[in-house]
């Protein structure tokens, strides 16, 4: 088989994450992320991309926003965020999917918010 198939300039983003391309935390496009301690500067030993994420997340930001702003592919962004979360440098916020009845109160809030904005 041709092992070099589809290898090219895109290999780099996956190598600098140590080859892992899966994130263990549930990180969807809409999931919000913010720095654990907003007062602190990012640690010195971070990858440049991780440092950028750390700076960006002083305000809660979604995975999609981080990916678009830093021009890092979504999958790589997820891995970098996951690593920062493992180091307890950033916090991954809960994502409301509507799949559990316990989320209904939040959906009601969402509906009230939409009505307030668009009625």
């Amino acid at each position: 088989m041709n092992n070099r198939r589809r290898r090219g300039i895109r290999i780099r983003p996956y190598t600098f994450t140590g080859g892992r391309t899966r994130s263990r935390h549930p990180l969807m496009l809409q999931t919000l992320v913010s720095v654990a301690d907003p007062g602190t500067a990012p640690p010195k030993n971070l990858l440049p991309e991780s440092e950028q994420i750390h700076r960006l997340c002083r305000e809660a930001r979604s995975v999609a926003e981080i990916s678009a702003e830093l021009k890092i592919p979504v999958g790589v962004t997820q891995v970098l965020i996951s690593d920062l979360a493992d180091q307890e440098l950033i916090y991954i916020h809960p994502t409301i999917t509507g799949h559990s009845p316990s989320e209904n109160q939040v959906l009601e809030r969402a509906l009230r918010g939409l009505e307030r904005l668009f009625q």
């Binding site: 999609a64 999958g75 799949h99």
Partner: protein, 199 residues
Amino acid sequence: MASNVSSNDKSSMVSTKIVIAGGFGAGKTTLVGSVSEIPPVTTEAMMTEASEAHDDTSSTPTKITTTVAMDFGRITLDEKLIMYMFGTPGQARFWFMWDDIVRGAVGAVVVVDVRRLADSFAAVDYFENNPQVPYIVALNRFDGELGHTVDEIREALEIRPGIPIIDFDARDRRSAGSALTTLLEYALSHPTKEPALAG
């Protein structure tokens, strides 16, 4: 505790997502732009085509990555709740990507250009076959006549009974907002189960 109120507030922020789907050029990005508090962000998302759930040969580099334009907008609904809207790529060849965009969504609005009903069939079909995602259909009439009754459209697109079908103008903020409101009302009154809990 030394932490102040604002940092407590921030950590209790949550987000949610709805999907804006539909055929090519149906008015998805227009809808997102009408309701979003930020200009729609069109991002060249690089996505993997292989499905993670079925991919157990993960050590081999068989995943195919593709660059596709996906766009999104944002609405702050209250101080602790943000809703993102994600527009799916309209071109049929990017449909494999829909699963990534749809995963975890509270619901979807399928935008239909009433002049080209056939172009939206595939989008309707996708959601008819994904019962864990509530959806509604929003007819964008592009200044013209509907040309058909709502019943005719339901039949032509094979939209199951009970799925709300509304008529709206994607360019109008309130009209586009009403599509989102209709979706949320429908999702709240038709709770779906996590696939693992179903049955």
